[in-house]
Structure formats: C-alpha cells, structure tokens
C-alpha cells in the first residue's frame, strides 16, 4: 500500500518519569517493510519507545527519525503512523464501519469514498459483514481486527502494535497473530510490535529487539536470538536456559567433567556459568551417576526433566518421550553436553 516502506530510527532516546528511567539511551533501527518486535519484561521501556514513535510521549533527549526525517517535534496526528492499542480503543459510539472511516473523516474524504474504502478494509480483515455492528456487539478478537483496519485506513507509513493480542484468549491470539503477519507481509508496511510474550515475538517478527532497563540488549532475527544470545539477559529471557557452573581453562571451559570450546569471547573470570538450552542437555540413567531427577513434566512430544547436580544446581533437559520413560523423580542419572561450543556468562550468584 505505501509506495515505499519507511525506515524508522531511534537515536539515543532518553526518558525519565520521576525517579524511574524508562529509556536510557535507546538506539534502534527498523528496516523498510520489516516486522520488528520489541520484547522485554514489563517496565523495560518498550511501550514508551513505541509511544514516542506515535507521538504520545516526548523524549528528554534523543530523536525519532522516519525515513531520515526528524519527527520528534511533529504532533501525533501528523505522524502518519497507524496504531493498534491493547484493547478497548474503538470508539463506542460508532459502528465498525464508521470506526474504520474515522481517520478518513478527519482528513475530510468525501462520504461515498470513505465508506467504500472502509468497507474494503473491513473485508481485508475478514469482517465485511460486521460493518454495522457496534464495538460492544463484537468479540475481543473482532474488535482488534476492526482496530487494525482503522489503523491501516490512512495508509500509514508505519504500523504500531501495542500488545494487541494480550487481552485475547489463547486460540484467538494464535489466529490473529497469523493474520497480522499475513497482512503485514502483503502490505509490506514497516511494523513495530510491542510484546512481553517471547513466543509471540519469535514466531511473528523478522527481527526481535530485546530490551532491558531502558536499553537495547540485542536486535537479531529470532533464530539468532535463540541460538546465539548476545548477553546473559537475552539468553535467559528468550527461551529456557539453565546455568551450570564451570571453570575457564584458556579458551575452553571445564563443565560436567567435559572440556568444551567457548562460543564467543572468553570472559576474564575463571569461575563461570555455562548456559545451556534444555534440548542440548543429555540425561541418561546411570547407576553410579551423581545427579538425581527432581521432577518430570510431560510436554507432548518431549518430557522436561529437572535434574539436580551433585553441587545442588538444577538443570532442565528436554528428552524425547521414549528416552524419558524410565526417569522418574528420584532416579539416579548422569548429565552430559554435546561436543559443541557453549555459551558462558560470568557467575552471578
């Protein structure tokens, strides 16, 4: 829909609310036409960043650029950014069609034209027959679809999604997730998507920006974020990660009686934690093993086994259901890692 998709750039954004620092120098660029997810725990500043792009918040310092043009001082209604809110943002006094046409009415588009365009957009989100319904007559998922159509009505250069799925139930969330992604790719519109749900971010986004305490931790495609987390925070926030104590010896690390190469820079400290994903941990029943199974939980295709090592550390491992058959709580086991480079982080405890 937009002739050319826009580039969005945050430069050194800083914002304080009283004593709390919401944004502490955020630098981030969204490439034209990509879906960039802002992921982080609550209070990490992701929503503040989005609202700055929408024009609802103003940075104490730093700037927001769209296609290289500084929009930091441009008021919200001239920003050319469509926004979908968490929930309940439809105008209760207007029916679905008029909600979608609201922006066009503000732009003084003629009635016939704007009704046609609004109907077209409702069709795009699969609600062509619901134009006459009022928001309170629509389900939560339908309301968010209308909100999406409304956000797209003015052909914005950027689409902003502020946790649009968080108020919906699981099933609707999944289907709407796919639909948003489909629309976004069809329209090729640069989209920023704020979420605290890592699964949502990993499954939808072209790239995910993980934020923590007002700063960017890492911005990378989902597979890279999962496989090669740049920081310990990312490693533990995205997916499940266990820490196993190890010792650095030159550029290798001694862990669980194995000597494995270190992935990435080697920390200066010798006492480190090795970070491992549950699917990379091997657990085998061994009569002379030093570890014990603490708990198992059935996940479907796999069984997640929690093992307590000799030194008391707990490690999570995902095993195929048939391998985990004999492992019940209390079973004596041996734990090992595959012969691959491992991530290490300085010990925090």
């Amino acid at each position: 829909m937009p002739e050319t998709a826009a580039t969005v750039e945050f430069r050194g954004l800083r914002r304080e609310f009283g004593p709390t620092v919401a944004l502490d120098g955020l630098d981030l660029t969204a490439r034209p036409g990509e879906l960039l997810a802002l992921l982080g725990p609550s209070g990490c500043g992701k929503t503040t960043a989005l609202r700055m792009l929408a024009g609802f918040e103003h940075p104490d310092s730093g700037e927001v650029l769209v296609d290289g043009e500084d929009v930091t001082r441009v008021p919200a209604h001239r920003r050319d950014a469509g926004m979908v809110f968490q929930s309940y943002s439809l105008f209760p006094h207007l029916d679905a069609l008029d909600n979608v046409a609201f922006g066009l009415r503000m732009r003084k588009v003629r009635t016939v034209e704007r009704r046609a365009r609004a109907a077209e957009l409702l069709d795009l989100v699969g609600l062509a027959d619901k134009g006459g319904r009022f928001p309170h007559q629509l389900s939560g998922g339908q309301q968010q679809r209308v909100a999406l159509a409304r956000a797209l009505a003015l052909r914005p250069r950027v689409l902003l999604l502020d946790e649009p799925l968080s108020a919906l139930d699981a099933k609707v969330r999944l289907s709407l997730r796919e639909e948003i992604r489909r629309l976004q790719q069809e329209l090729g519109i640069t989209t920023l998507f704020v979420t605290h749900d890592q699964e949502e971010a990993l499954s939808m986004a072209d790239r995910v920006a993980v934020m923590h305490a007002g700063r960017l931790e890492q911005c990378a495609p989902p597979s890279e974020l999962y496989g090669r987390p740049a920081t310990a925070f990312v490693a533990e926030f995205v997916g499940t990660m266990s820490r196993i104590p190890g010792r650095i010896a030159q550029d290798t690390v001694d862990v669980l009686g194995q000597r494995l190469p270190v992935d990435g820079p080697v920390p200066s400290a010798t006492e480190v934690d090795v970070l491992v994903r549950p699917e990379a941990v091997r657990v085998r029943a061994e009569t002379d093993g030093k570890s014990r199974v603490v708990a198992t939980s059935f996940l479907g295709a796999a069984v997640r086994v929690t093992v307590r090592l000799a030194d008391g550390t707990e490690v999570k491992a995902d095993l195929p259901a048939h391998e985990a058959a004999g492992l019940t709580a209390g079973a004596v086991v041996g734990v090992s890692l595959p012969e691959r480079p491992v991530l290490v982080a300085e010990r925090t405890r």
Binding site: M83, F102, M106, R150
Partner: protein
C-alpha cells in the same frame, strides 16, 4: 416467581399511592369547586395572573444559561483532570462538593454582602457597571453564577460517572493516531461517549434551577419558584393549581431533554 411478582406489584402499588394520592388530591382540590362542580377556572386564572409567563420564561432562561456555563466549565476541566493531573481529582471533588455543605442561606448572605460593595466601594470604577449589569432584573446573571456553584456537586458526580465508563486517554490517543487534532479528538471521540452523562448533568441542573427559591427570593428576583410562593399567599386554590402545573412543566421539560438526547445508548460497555 409468582410470589415475587406479587411482592413487586405490591411495592410498586404502595410507592405509586405515596406519590399519586397527594397529587390526585391536589388536582381534585383545584378542579372541584364546592357548589360549582368541575371547573378548570383555577388553571385559566393562572395564565391570566400577572407574571406567570415572564417568571417561567426567566426561570427557563436562567436554567439554559446555567447549564451552558456549568458544562463549559466542568467538561473541559474534568477531561483535563483525567488526562493531565489525575492526582488533583480528590481536590476537585472536595471543592465541587462544598456547595452541599454550605447552606443556601449562608451562601446568599455572602453574595448579598459582595453585591453591596458595588455602591459602597466601587462607584467610581468601571466595575460598578458590571455589578449593575449582573443584577439586571430582566436577566439577573448573578443568579446564573450562584446556580452554577450550586449545581457543581451534581454536575461533578454525573460527569465523573460518565468519564469512569470510558477510557478517555485511549480514546483521545486512538483519535489522534487517526489524524485528529486535540479539539477534534475531544469533540468527535470523547464527547459523543459522554452524552448520557451530559444529559444527566443537564437534567439535574434544570431541576435545581426551576425549583430554587432561597437565593432568588433573598436577592429580590422573581423567577418561577418565587412567583409561585408570592401568588399562593393570596389564593389557596390558585396556588395548588400552580404547584400542579409547575410539576407538569418540569416533567415536560425533562421529557423534552430526554427526547433531545435521542437514541441514547448505554455509554458503559456490556
């Protein structure tokens, strides 16, 4: 269920009797003149009595002006309070509730004192003219000012209830991201969803102004309520007829206002 229904009808009937019996008695008293049979003489005399139309019109004008002023004052203030300074809300609530605590008699004594400053201290200043102008007996604006203050508690509560039912901040932001400037966002996204609250506030203000006696009487003006009392002193039948009529007038006005509100839908979400 049958028993419950019986109870309901019983309670409704009792409440109805409580309201309707005195009303019916009043009506009967005015139309059934001993020795003459049924006659509407009392009602026709009302229209002939000097001051009926003018005092009623004055009351209506005062009510309209009060509604306009109090809404123009309170709606922007309360929306701003929601958006900009939620922590000031208790302060505003207390200020708006004060007129309930101050008796009208004390209130009017204060106003009277201030109005006396005009001739006493300000006779050489342009302010004197202002003091004269607001006491113009054809349209005493000083009454509008007083009624605005007296209506504050009711208007505050009505608007507060309306604003609670909508997420003003999100509505404004949604409108702004759709390309609406601030005034447009307020007029087209927030106000239509406050229609119920605005109507309620107008109802209460209208009823208050039509029935207000103390302030108007003590400041020496003659709106409808004062006129009724003045008339009733001399003719018993006439005064009751006027009361019945004033009740009907108020009802009709409230119905008109409700009709004006038109297709009112509940502002709250289901």
């Amino acid at each position: 269920m049958a028993r419950l229904n019986l109870w309901r009808w019983g309670v409704l009937g009792l409440a109805g009797l409580y309201f309707l019996v005195p009303l019916a008695a009043s009506v009967v008293f005015t139309v059934d003149v001993p020795g003459q049979g049924i006659t509407f003489d009392a009602y026709t005399r009302i229209f002939a009595t000097d001051g009926f139309v003018s005092s009623l019109l004055l009351s209506l004008e005062l009510a309209l002006a009060t509604i306009a002023v109090v809404l123009l004052l309170m709606v922007p203030a309360m929306v701003a309070l929601r958006l900009g300074a939620p922590r000031l809300r208790p302060v505003v609530e207390v200020v708006c509730s004060l007129p309930l605590v101050v008796p009208p008699i004390a209130f009017v004594a204060g106003i009277g004192t201030v109005l006396k400053w005009g001739p006493d201290h300000l006779s050489r200043t342009p302010l004197f003219e202002t003091f004269v102008a607001i006491q113009n007996p054809d349209f005493p604006f000083v009454l509008v000012l007083a009624y605005v203050v007296m209506a504050l508690p009711f208007v505050y509560r009505a608007l507060d209830a309306g604003l609670r039912a909508v997420d003003v901040r999100t509505l404004v932001e949604a409108a702004r991201s759709c390309g609406a400037g601030w005034p447009q966002a307020l007029m087209q996204a927030v106000l239509p969803n406050l229609r119920g609250a605005l109507l309620n506030a107008s109802f209460l203000t209208l009823a208050l102004v039509l029935g207000e006696f103390t302030v108007a009487q003590l400041l020496g003006f003659r709106p409808f309520a004062v006129w009724i009392v003045n008339v009733s002193g001399s003719q018993a039948q006439l005064s009751v007829a006027v009361s019945v009529l004033s009740l009907l007038v108020t009802w009709v006005l409230l119905l008109v206002l409700a009709g004006f509100g038109g297709r009112t839908r509940p502002t709250s979400r289901g």
